[in-house]
């Protein structure tokens, strides 16, 4: 099986406005992740997990180094091409769910596939199927504010999966959930990984997620300290 993404000698340095002080978030990172992987990137706060995920998803650019996702070199993309790239190739699951508050659960879930131009019948059919798999059939029409934290995160998972991306990036997906809900959610994503062949990369410091991942990459101060196949 080939690689879905590869980063080579990636550095990321932040300079805060009005200050000459630089913070190095990533320090010469190189790694590649195989297609269909179920990978956890772990490490303490400030280790660079989220920065690496944002760079993989095209939300942030590296200071130096190259990032290739699904054979696309992200350095060569302009803003519009980057939007297209994110739309078709990346699924995001955020720590704070980041649902659109004015849309219902169903509308949130179908948002990305709608942007992709998927036909309505397919969107509706697949959304119902995924909501059923997630145990959320009864909540299709609810607004995010009418859902619990776990339910909101399931909608975010549905949104990411419905778009049929090459790669799903999940930033601390269980951080705001209780352990039972978090565990169920990761199990659900593991099923999706197995049945649909979707690649998942988690940024996490949740031990449960680390244990369930097939590969664990440990970061510390922006450097990879361990890369363990499980």
């Amino acid at each position: 099986m080939g690689f879905i993404c590869a980063v080579n000698n990636v550095n990321k340095t932040y300079r805060f406005k009005g200050s000459d002080v630089e913070t190095r978030a990533l320090n010469d990172i190189s790694l590649s992740i195989e297609e269909g992987g179920f990978v956890a990137i772990a490490g303490p706060s400030g280790s660079g997990k989220t920065t690496l995920l944002n760079i993989l998803g095209g939300l942030d650019a590296p200071t130096s180094g190259s990032v290739i996702v699904d054979q696309t070199d992200l350095a060569g993309l302009n803003a519009a091409e980057m939007s297209e790239f994110r739309l078709h190739k990346i699924g995001f699951i955020f720590q704070a769910y980041n649902l659109i508050s004015t849309l219902s659960a169903y509308e949130n879930a179908e948002y990305v596939s709608l942007l992709q131009g998927a036909p309505k019948d397919r969107r509706l059919f697949e959304a119902r199927q995924i909501f059923k798999d997630l145990g959320m059939e009864a909540y299709l029409k609810r607004r995010p504010t009418q859902l619990s934290a776990g339910q909101q995160q399931r909608v975010a998972v549905a949104r990411a999966i419905l778009a049929r991306p090459k790669l799903i990036l999940a930033d601390e997906p269980t951080a705001n959930l209780d352990s039972r809900t978090g565990s169920d959610l990761i199990d659900l994503m593991a099923v999706m990984n197995k049945t649909l062949g979707l690649t998942f990369i988690f940024a996490t410091h949740d031990k449960m997620v680390m244990e369930k991942a097939h590969r664990l990459i440990l970061l510390h101060d922006g450097k990879i300290t361990q890369d363990i196949a499980q």
């Binding site: 944002n54 939300l59 939007s83 994110r86 990346i90 659109i100 509308e107 990305v112 942007l115």
Partner: protein
């Protein structure tokens, strides 16, 4: 596209208080614009109508050159030629012949230079409203060839009243001295100082006798069915009479100062309307900007998920369009309603009647309902509400997704 419209619509509903304030601001601004425009149009229409109806008429037909240099030598001896053309002109409602000449009026106490007009009393009533402005005595009637109507202030200067005798002196058409005595039949108060101080009316027959002008007249005053017909009718008459023999002048040619004042008034009003438009536009811009700032995170999420910047722009523009449409709809209904109601009842400005009368405007102003003007202003406000959303829309579309999500 429907999703963006749906999101835009829901954003409007999400902050109902702010949306209501914006819609109300747009509606109030447009309502004010429509009312102000209707009011000014009504006042201007009244001014033109009063000015022309009082004495000038809508159009005057003279012998060529009369307007530039008024005199009996430029009189018309073939009135019927003009009358035949006027009768065949559909826009002409009525017309009346006149003799017009400067003369000297004297009483036992004083004397004064005047503009003496010889009128056909019955036909003059169909063209002008001087007969309605009599403040003492009565207007001329057919056969009142020994009577005269003079301005109220002129009467005060001469110290005469109805029933008193005055003498008119001037130069006749044949060069002889024209002189005759008349009994004051009535005093006219037109409200315009120049007329009240200088105007005197006798019958056309009396004027022809006085100036030895058998079958001659100085001018034909014409009234059209509508003020909107004046320019086209004047041009039509010019074409038909030919410029060599006669001149057909609209009131704008006869009194360019009044016309210029009216144009200045229109420019000044447009300036005020423009300022009101700016205030309305500022209100919409402020609301849309607030809405964009409030939803920075949401735009960040949308951009992160692959929404194109152009789609964000369309969504923000759609939101402005909905707000503008609702505001413009309500403003149009309210503005048109107020103009229609006030157009019937009138707006009583009696406290300013003296000042208004000097401009030939009555103390009750009737705003004018002009659907085209209303549609134009509604269209401008709607266009503005979309156009001014471009800046906040572009601002939203250029957000960095990651920074916006963190905000």
């Amino acid at each position: 596209m429907l999703t963006f419209i749906k999101i835009a619509w829901r954003n409007i509903l999400r902050n109902r208080a702010r949306s209501f304030i914006t819609i109300a601001a747009v509606a109030a601004g447009l309502c004010a614009l429509i009312f102000l425009k209707g009011f000014v149009d009504g006042a201007d229409h009244q001014m033109v109508a009063n000015y022309t109806d009082l004495f000038v008429g809508h159009i005057q037909v003279h012998k060529a050159g009369f307007q530039k240099s008024m005199g009996l030598d430029k009189s018309i001896n073939n009135e019927e030629t003009i009358a035949a053309v006027l009768r065949k002109t559909p826009a002409v409602a009525a017309f009346t012949p006149r003799i017009k000449e400067f003369a000297l009026i004297s009483s036992p106490e004083s004397s004064s230079g005047i503009l003496l007009i010889g009128v056909d009393p019955e036909r003059e009533r169909t063209v002008t409203t001087l007969h309605k402005k009599i403040r003492a005595g009565s207007f001329l009637s057919a056969g009142d060839n020994d009577k005269i109507v003079i301005g109220r202030q002129l009467a005060e200067n001469l110290k005469v009243a109805p029933g008193d005798k005055v003498v008119i002196m001037g130069q006749a058409f044949d060069g002889s001295i024209a002189a005759s005595a008349y009994i004051v039949a009535g005093l006219v108060e037109a409200g315009a100082e120049d007329l009240d101080k200088n105007l005197a009316l006798i019958t056309l027959r009396a004027a022809q006798d006085l100036f030895v002008m058998e079958n001659r007249i100085s001018e034909v005053a014409v009234k059209t069915h509508s003020l909107d017909d004046i320019d086209a009718t004047a041009q039509n008459l010019r074409d038909r009479f030919g410029r060599k023999n006669f001149e057909a002048l609209s009131w704008k040619d006869i009194s360019p100062m009044t016309y210029q004042w009216l144009q200045f008034d229109q420019v000044f009003t447009s300036l005020i309307l423009f300022i009101v438009l700016l205030v309305v536009a500022g209100g919409i811009l402020n609301t849309i900007l607030m809405g964009v700032l409030e939803r920075t995170k949401e735009f960040g999420i949308m951009l992160a998920l692959g929404t194109k910047p152009s789609q964000i722009i369309r969504m923000v523009a759609a939101e402005s369009f909905f707000l503008g449409l609702a505001g413009a709809g309500l403003g149009t209904l309210a503005g048109a309603g107020i103009v229609l109601v006030c157009g019937r009842t009138g707006i009583d400005l009696s406290a300013l009647s003296q000042a208004l009368n000097n401009f030939y405007i009555g103390s009750v102003i009737y705003p004018l309902f002009r659907p085209v003007s209303i549609a134009v202003y509604a269209g401008i406000v709607l266009f503005l509400s979309i156009a001014i959303s471009v800046f906040p829309a572009i601002k939203a579309s250029r957000l960095s997704p990651i920074e916006a999500i963190r905000s």
